[in-house]
């Protein structure tokens, strides 16, 4: 990736430092996770520096400042009008060629990784203080299933423009957040094309045993697994030896697959040949388990991980982490505790009492049989 000017464009797997000011929260997190061996869907960040250069060189900086000058946050009509005008300007004003270049090159490089053009998602990646709190996060702009290069460019600008929604403007005015340093990065990220997908939990939910990883896997998009529409393959892996301890191959009668480039999911029957065979090879099981183990180590608590094997990526690079969140249901339950061996205090150096208990417990069990 050394060919790119990393001031303006950074690939998630480019090995750069996750500079929050340059990448915004979302992209910084994607870079961090990729570097930590938790491969998120591949893509690149259009940095805040590029946005800054754009508003500077296109003269937008002054235009925006003028429009916001003396704007009353309670005057909803005016705020709406200013918001619309600024956003129109951001989307319409030409981006100087020198700033278009890095994105064009990154796009070409990105698409060059695949045999045929792949659709992407374009998402805004704000730096923390510029926009309202987490409740707004979901309203930050995300545009899915884009394939055309011009569309991508246009939607990058839409993400930039989202800095100036009426709500964002009002929020900053009311909270006296200065316009200086206000910026926006944008993530351009591959849409996941799941051939096999599922979830992985870094413990055994049946007994809370944290030395295991439980994997549910099925054909197609993971939604079928999460929603319970199919009986997935269920595989129990030992977290330390990374070997399969137990497995149940599910009867995976349907799968959800993307309908061309449109992004709609369609349900279809799984052919007989694939239905009753495990949807993951041994190596893939191990890769999913290792991914989950890394996520647990990274976040320092049991994780519930969504993953997918991407059909557009080559074997060995096609396992993607879609989401990892703390596992709270089972990990808060009591852990298995060895039966108390003896009422007497444990002897120093070794536990003879428990040896005796084990030996005699075996007999007691046989009596009841």
């Amino acid at each position: 990736m050394s060919g790119f000017d990393t001031r303006y464009v950074q690939f998630f797997d480019g090995g750069t430092e996750p500079d929050h000011a340059l990448l915004g929260g979302k992209c910084a997190s994607l870079v961090t996770m990729t570097a930590a061996g938790m491969p998120v869907p591949p893509g690149f960040a259009v940095t805040t520096a590029l946005y800054d250069a754009f508003v500077e060189e296109s003269g937008l900086r002054d235009v925006i400042a003028n429009r916001l000058n003396r704007l009353d946050p309670d005057d909803v009509v005016s705020v709406d009008a200013v918001s619309a005008a600024i956003r129109d300007e951001i989307c319409a004003r030409p981006v100087p060629e020198r700033l278009r270049r890095p994105v064009i090159e990154a796009w070409a490089d990105f698409q060059g990784r695949f045999e045929r053009p792949v659709p992407v998602a374009v998402r805004s990646s704000a730096t923390a203080e510029d926009l309202p709190d987490a409740s707004f996060a979901g309203q930050q702009d995300t545009y899915l299933w884009l394939v055309d290069e011009h569309d991508v460019h246009d939607h990058i600008r839409k993400c930039w423009a989202s800095l100036y929604t009426s709500r964002a403007i009002t929020y900053r005015l009311r909270n006296a957040v200065p316009e200086d340093g206000l910026s926006m990065a944008v993530a351009v990220q591959k849409m996941v094309h799941a051939r096999v997908a599922g979830v992985a939990m870094t413990l055994n939910p049946r007994n809370g045993d944290r030395s295991k990883i439980t994997i549910d896997a099925s054909w197609g998009v993971g939604e079928a697994v999460v929603s319970g529409h199919v009986t997935p393959d269920n595989i129990l892996v030992d977290k330390v030896l990374m070997c399969i301890v137990e497995e149940h191959v599910g009867d995976k009668h349907i799968e959800l697959v993307p309908d061309g480039a449109g992004g709609r999911l369609v349900e279809r029957d799984v052919d007989a040949a694939r239905r009753a065979v495990r949807s993951l090879t041994d190596d893939q099981v191990k890769a999913v388990a290792e991914l989950a183990k890394r996520a647990e180590r990274h976040y320092a608590c049991p994780q519930d991980v969504e993953w997918a094997l991407d059909a557009d990526l080559p074997d060995g690079q096609n396992l993607l982490l879609l989401q990892s969140r703390p596992e709270t249901v089972h990990s808060s339950k009591p852990k298995p505790v060895a039966a108390p061996a003896t009422a007497s205090p444990p002897p120093v150096g070794f536990s003879l009492g428990s040896i005796t208990a084990h030996l005699t417990a075996g007999r007691a069990a046989s009596v009841t049989n």
Binding site: D209, R210, I244, D282, F350, S354, R363
Partner: protein, 607 residues
């Protein structure tokens, strides 16, 4: 009304047909080793076959290993340690094979044994290192004394010096004393053999049970890896050969190893080369004691020992030299093995806290201290002691051969050890009286007759077990040492309803490998094994180590998680499935097979 499920059973001993030509087999063995109560309890009790230690039919003299080993195992459970639920293991020979039946302690006596058990076991665990140091001295002293025993023919006349000194004995007493001493000394080391063995298993079993409680589905092999020693005496003989091969390459002696079947010639050729003397010095130094190593398991008179069959170690050295020349790494990656073991321990440990963590540390610590004995003792007893023993037995037999009792030194094995004593008195009587001993006109024909019976018995494989098994197998040593579990018994009985054609066994060492099978029924076939093949054997022995460097995986008929094949495969990082029961009779050499050491499955992919 409840319907009793049909209880599946193994055959009763009385139901098993005697192979043609083996009629009268039961008279070949001491009376107490054969079922004498076949109309009563012997025909009812559950017996399992220990084909792990005794895969082939006993010749009468060879029962000594089975008798001493299983008797001494029992004495430690029953009389030394008072293991609360378990006495010893009863043993009988049926149709030439050894069958065992664990003896439980009656329910109402278990509790009373606990205080003595804790006192005795506690003493051993608290004084492990010093007692083990003492053990090595005792065992070594026994072996040294065994070496001093000699068996030589008697002279034409008593030496004049004995007349002068008034000794008044003819020397026959030395023959008889030495024979008795030979038996006594080997008995002594078999007693010592079990001094620590049951304790080693006990510590392992304790950690095993605990690990299964806190990590319910933990693979057995993970527990094994956590306690396994790495720098083991049992691996020393093989390591010595690797060092010798490396030295030969350093000194440029490769050309001398063209034909290692010619031992004298090979050593002479080495000596003629520059640097050869240095290598020969190293070779001789390695022999004592590490060449007291058998390709068998020490329980049979036909077991070959490296020290007397140097074409075996020299052949291995030749192969190692080739691999070093090809740039292969032949030394075991000890640092990596240690690092991997430490990683496994640390990762499981990190999942525990509080009382469980404290218990883990204590139990793991005990198992790590006690368990290495379970592997290392094997060199001292089965290999070294028994190697010297069998050599002395052959020395004695040559005295009989010289006196015309039988033709071949191996023929003595067709007598029981009591009969050997009788024959010895026959021999010295004939010599003393100045008449023909009876043996020369009795034993040749009798030995031929017995040979026919043994060969006929050997044409049949043993039953895995006899009579109706208990609903649950709970006896800890039976499960641990022999891998006899409820599941195993059900599998023998054909209860596994999974109808696919895969061969199943224990997941003894992780990994998956595909390759061509090489079926080996006897150590003499080992030279046939080619690089990259999968070894399929009835059972393997520690001295097959050099083979493990060139194979991709192992499948055995017999053995559990702690069997030799399992230990060595984990050591070499090879997949292994053990205890398949029928792997070596189902798979044929040359078939493409897939060994899944994680799932304990073997598939035949193509002929």
């Amino acid at each position: 009304m409840t319907v009793e499920p049909a209880v599946k059973s193994f055959p009763r001993p009385s139901e098993l047909p005697v192979p043609p030509g083996a009629e009268g087999w039961e008279k070949l063995y001491p009376y107490n080793l054969v079922f004498q109560n076949l109309s009563g309890s012997d025909d009812e009790k559950f017996w399992f076959c220990d084909s792990q230690h005794w895969p082939t039919v006993f010749k009468p003299f060879e029962t000594i290993g089975g008798e001493f080993a299983v008797k001494c195992l029992g004495q430690y459970n029953t009389r030394h340690l008072l293991i609360p639920p378990a006495n010893g293991i009863e043993f009988k020979i049926h149709l030439g094979y050894l069958y065992m039946s664990p003896v439980p302690v009656p329910e109402n006596r278990i509790a009373a044994r606990v205080p003595e058990f804790e006192r005795r076991v506690g003493h051993y665990f608290q004084n492990w290192d010093s007692l083990l140091e003492q053990w090595k001295l005792k065992v070594r002293a026994t072996i040294d004394e065994l070496e001093t025993l000699t068996f030589a023919g008697l002279p034409e006349m008593v030496p004049f010096a004995d007349i002068v000194s008034g000794k008044a004995k003819d020397g026959s007493e030395v023959l008889m004393e030495n024979y008795d001493r030979l038996i006594q000394l080997v008995y002594q080391n078999w007693q010592y053999h079990f001094e620590f063995l049951n304790l080693g298993y006990l510590a392992y079993l304790d950690f095993f049970t605990f690990a299964k409680q806190v990590f319910p589905d933990i693979p057995d092999q993970a527990i094994a890896k956590m306690v396994q020693g790495v720098d083991m005496e049992l691996f020393r003989p093989d390591d010595e050969l690797k060092k010798l091969a490396t030295l030969a390459v350093e000194l440029g002696l490769q050309s001398a190893f063209e034909n290692t079947d010619d031992v004298e010639g090979t050593l002479a050729r080495v000596g003629d080369l520059s640097g050869g003397r240095r290598w020969l010095d190293a070779y001789r130094a390695a022999q004592d004691p590490w060449f007291n190593f058998t390709v068998g398991n020490g329980f049979y008179g036909h077991d070959k020992y490296w020290i007397e069959h140097q074409e075996i170690p020299l052949g291995y050295i030749k192969d190692y030299i080739r691999r070093v020349d090809e740039g292969q790494r032949i030394l075991r990656p000890i640092d990596e093995l240690v690092a991997e073991r430490d990683r496994i321990v640390a990762e499981y440990r990190s999942l525990l806290d509080g009382e469980n963590l404290a218990a883990f540390d204590v139990k793991h610590g005990l198992a790590v201290t006690a368990y290495p004995y379970v592997e290392n003792h094997n060199f001292y007893i089965e290999h070294w002691t028994m190697g010297v023993f069998w050599r002395k037995v052959r020395e004695l037999s040559r005295v009989f051969v010289a006196a015309g009792f039988w033709a071949d030194e191996g023929d003595l094995l067709y007598l029981t050890r009591g009969e050997v004593r009788d024959a010895l008195f026959d021999l010295v009587t004939g010599w003393a009286v100045g008449a023909e001993a009876t043996g020369p006109s009795y034993w040749p024909a009798e030995i031929d007759r017995r040979r026919g019976i043994i060969d006929a018995l050997g044409s049949r494989r043993p039953q895995p077990a006899l009579n109706t098994p208990p609903a649950q197998i709970t006896e800890p040593f039976t499960m641990m040492l022999w891998g006899i579990t409820t599941e195993q018994v059900q599998q023998w009985l054909g209860d596994d309803s999974g109808s696919d054609s895969a061969i199943t066994g224990m997941s003894a060492s992780p990994g998956v490998a595909e390759g061509r099978a090489r079926v080996v029924h006897h150590a003499d076939q080992l030279s046939e094994v080619q690089e990259g093949e999968i070894l399929v054997a009835t059972i393997t022995a520690p001295s097959w180590g050099p083979i493990f460097g060139k194979i991709k995986a192992t499948v055995t008929d017999i053995g559990g998680m702690m069997s030799h094949a399992a230990i060595v495969c984990r050591e070499y990082g090879l997949p292994a499935v053990t205890g398949t029961g029928n792997g070596s009779t189902t798979i044929r050499t040359g078939q493409l097979i897939r060994v899944d050491g994680n799932a304990g499955r073997v598939e035949i992919l193509e002929d």
